[in-house]
Subunit: 215 residues, 2 copies
């Protein structure tokens, strides 16, 4: 997401990667996926939560009839995740950029069928969002599973793109009296807010206060 023309890409501290380890790392660090697909001569991009297992993303999202109807059968889709790490503030407008990690994955989506398969996928998604939560809650009943749509997205091709580090200015601009650097961003988890109906004697579980869940 650099603020530059195509010819500038090579000299920026930005890199693309087809390395599966890098791709998986970004997929495991992000939180929400944007799922794109084409239906009825229209492109849709829908935010969905997800979990990863090998080259499969299990997706779970806003259950609109449009989405359900389209992704039930095998459908080509593009799933993109993006983590914003900071604003890169250069001395010129042109060299401003964003530090980020993103993955663009192409593949095939289909709705999962079969209660056991769906529950397993829901477990993967739950562990990705908040490890430890699943075993602490009441599991889904059969009718709840039937009322839940889970999409299996099989990645066939993916690439990561990552930018890190300080701005890269034009040589002649380094003498300018403009503050330059990075304004770092992160998705911060704040103190858990108890349900108003929570019984007073129920403590906040350990998995909720561990630093791993503050992204």
């Amino acid at each position: 997401m650099s603020g530059t023309g195509r010819s500038q890409v090579q000299r920026l501290p930005e890199r693309g990667s087809q390395d599966p380890a890098v791709i998986k790392e970004v997929l495991d660090a992000a939180f929400v996926a944007h799922v794109g697909f084409h239906a009825q001569s229209q492109t849709f991009v829908i935010p969905m939560i997800y979990g990863r297992e090998d080259d499969i993303l299990y997706l779970h999202g806003a259950t609109s009839s449009r989405l359900l109807g389209t992704l039930t059968e095998r459908t080509d889709a593009c799933v993109t995740v993006t983590i914003i790490d900071g604003l890169v503030l250069a001395r010129s407008a042109f060299h401003h950029s964003v530090n980020y990690r993103s993955v663009v994955a192409f593949g095939t989506a289909r709705a999962l069928r079969g209660a056991a398969t769906k529950v397993r996928a829901m477990n993967v998604i739950s562990e990705h969002l908040l490890a430890g939560r699943w075993r602490d809650v009441r599991g889904p009943t059969r009718s709840e599973v039937d009322a839940t749509s889970v999409i299996e997205f099989t990645i066939t091709e993916a690439s990561a793109k990552i930018r890190t580090g300080p701005p890269v200015d034009a040589d002649e601009d380094y003498g300018r009296p403009t503050w330059a650097g990075v304004l770092p961003f992160r998705l911060q988890a704040d103190a858990p807010m108890p349900d108003p109906r929570l019984a007073a004697d129920i403590a906040i579980p350990e998995y909720l206060v561990s630093s791993k869940n503050a992204r």
Copy 2:
């Protein structure tokens, strides 16, 4: 992004809105857009930064030849922004959800032409990301403008979707000894990190430390 079937949507504290004021509020609060379009029998979803002006989003993103080539002429696109506000932790797996604000906007994208038009749009994007920054930096030269792609996306149809508040559990689950509530998330700006080449006498500007920029 609730964890429920279609039939459950009505009873959740989740609402959709076609209200332009709500849509603009979400668009102005978010940071990155996911831009979907269809080309060569393939759907692409690309993360881009943006700024809003009336019903127009100015988009600025990773300058790949694929993107530039596709969005130069008038192209149908879907632009989705999503802000994650928290994990909604219910007493049952089924009623887990996410507090979020999102907008899905349909419209037409085209590349801007003309230096003055492009610079104006770049200013709008810059102000959206970090109000006050633009006037503090060296503006773009003509060749820098020529090397920059800016997309104008005109919204023709959009809807917002927002979920807030605590979990909504099944009546029979409220007696369970499971912690329930919301784990709030926000995109937090940390202390600015000076460029290693920054002169020691250049102070951090006021617009960088104002709370407005911590989202």
